[in-house]
């Protein structure tokens, strides 16, 4: 160990360093391993239809996880995405019955913008902890949705054909949702890597005082961020209602914790300053495949949950081990 001469680096170390420089590769490998396990357990399951289904369900999760990625980069978190998505989905499905779809869309996005704005102001101006702020607005949002729900019980709900097409449709084996997702994902990746706004997110998460001294106005960035996050969540809600086709008052709520998990599995630090969106997308895929894997396993529900927890922990730990230096 003490020799400092130039000895050939062992293959294992080289491989590790290679992976550490390209953190996406180990993630993809983990994903492939899960798929292979699935295929071994249920030969034949990995077919075109299954892949399309997996992608369909991974996309809403991935977009919400994108909200988490961006907020987590600044050291925040957005727990209101579930409520926001549910709200816009529910409002869309109920308003489209009597309104023009475009009007319904605008109405559906209104609460998203509003909640994002409130979150942004709370976090950016009043410096409320994002966890508490977004939790609070999500409670308020849920309450408002319940009140709203009563006014539309009689009118029923309808899923606009376009959303159903986008949510569930498959063209040449590719889910139509990709038409929305691919540009969106590209935009997020580009924003984070190559725009001033993206830079600021990383810098703020790393050292907020330093950004202030460089002339960055925290509240502007944070407000823009939370509004963006909310709008993305709203869009996710519309996509999700197209996929599930049943508006309910808790539609997207179950996606919140997985969206945080997907971002973390994808390598974004919850303390801010580190991470990226491509990892998050794979994180979302990993979680979706894992859910399938556990669904088809024959075992008591309790054991299934234990396994889920352990695998999430293992995947994250393994990934960290690989990517971490030394």
């Amino acid at each position: 160990m003490s020799s400092t001469g130039i000895t050939p680096v062992p293959f294992g170390r080289r491989l590790k360093r290679f992976m550490a420089d390209r953190p996406l590769i180990p993630l993809v490998i983990l994903l492939v391993i899960l798929v292979v396990i699935l295929q071994i357990l249920r030969p034949g399951i990995v077919n075109e239809r299954w892949i399309a289904n997996t992608i369909k369900f991974a996309i809403p999760l991935a977009i919400l996880a994108g909200c988490q990625t961006m907020t987590m980069l600044t050291g925040g978190i957005d727990l209101s995405v579930g409520t926001v998505a549910t709200m816009s989905a529910f409002i869309m499905a109920t308003q489209v019955v009597k309104q023009d779809p475009a009007v319904a869309f605008l109405l559906a996005m209104m609460p998203a913008v509003l909640i994002g704005l409130v979150n942004g102001i709370g976090v950016g101006v009043f410096r409320v902890h994002p966890l508490i702020m977004t939790l609070g607005t999500s409670l308020i949002g849920t309450g408002c949705l319940q009140v709203y729900q009563r006014t539309v019980i009689a009118s029923g709900a309808k899923i606009p054909d376009f959303l159903a097409w986008l949510g569930t449709g498959v063209t040449y084996g590719f889910p139509n949702a990709l038409l929305l997702f691919l540009p969106l994902a590209a935009l997020i990746v580009f924003t984070l890597a190559r725009t001033g706004f993206g830079r600021l997110l990383y810098a703020i998460g790393d050292n907020e005082r330093a950004t202030r001294l460089s002339g960055v106005q925290y509240w502007q960035v944070i407000t823009a961020l939370y509004v963006t996050s909310s709008v993305l969540a709203g869009i996710t809600g519309l996509l999700y209602i197209g996929l599930i086709k049943a508006p309910s008052l808790s539609l997207a709520e179950p996606l919140v914790l997985p969206s945080v998990a997907a971002a973390v599995i994808g390598g974004t630090s919850i303390f801010g300053g580190r991470g990226g969106y491509t990892g998050t997308i794979i994180g979302a895929l990993i979680l979706t495949v894992l859910t399938t894997l556990l669904t088809i396993l024959q075992m008591p529900e309790g054991a299934r949950r234990i396994l889920f927890g352990l695998i999430v922990l293992f995947v994250t730990a393994a990934y960290l081990r690989i990517v971490e230096e030394r």
Partner: protein, 323 residues
Amino acid sequence: MSHFLRRQGWVVGLFALLIVLFIATRIIQPAYGSNDFGSLARAVLPYAFAVAAQTVVVIAGGIDLSVAAMMALTSVTAASMMNGASEEYALFVVPFVLAMGFALGALNGLLIVVTRVPDIVVTLAMLFVLQGAALLVLDAPGGGIAEWLKALISGTVPIPGLPDAIDAWVPKALLVLIVCLCIIWIPLRRSRLGLSLYAIGSSELAAFRSGVPVKRTRIIAYALSGLLAAFGGLALTMSTGIGAPIPGPYLLASVAAVVLGGVALGGGKGGLLGPIVAVFVLRLVRTDLTLLAIDPNVTAIIEGAIMVAVVMFGAFITMRGRQ
């Protein structure tokens, strides 16, 4: 005095808020009496333990998303062990369940330290694991509990030397809460371990350089959290007489109360008193909303708004104080 106010100002403010709420309650329902206060104390009990569990880890710079699942697991374990068993058997069950909470909490901490995965993820994974374990113990609500344990939190204790009128305002549940928290918190707060908890929460690097065994302290913080959550699980079983494998709404409530109680989510600051008072405030708000027969859907809006408003107010005065 100024030190005291600067440090405890938030808690004092919360106390004032609590008193205002009590007065409001008496105005809304003039018949609100000692029995009703006893109900409040019993309602507070599981929340208070959940919040205490959360407080310890938050002070140490972490967060524990598995509190509610831990409560569910300890609760079903206690309920299924005591189901149909003798009264004396419970004397064994209680320490066993507490030890289990402590050990599982320590496991949380150990996983965080060993895997170096962020605490929020480890405890999220443990949330599923503990929930699963709870379902394996009892797949539906059930089980039983020793009568003496149930009796432990209902009614009041006659305190020698105090007139009955005052006795009546000291429900057993409140005493149990105070005693349990005091025997854990006061020695902790006074010990070097307690300081170490604050130290690693405030600055891990500085703590490490001050000779604090960071890993060990972190594990102990989570173990204590597990222990307190086990108290919470027991409290659930004590009040309902059964164990339910589905976790109750204690996770988010605990985080909210911790923040309302003046404990910074970054760690290193605050105490246990604030969060506990915050729990009383939140529960009393709920009582008032019920007494007022407010539309239940509006209740959610009000509860959310209170949370946001109080925290914003706190943030606002710290901002003012800084300038």
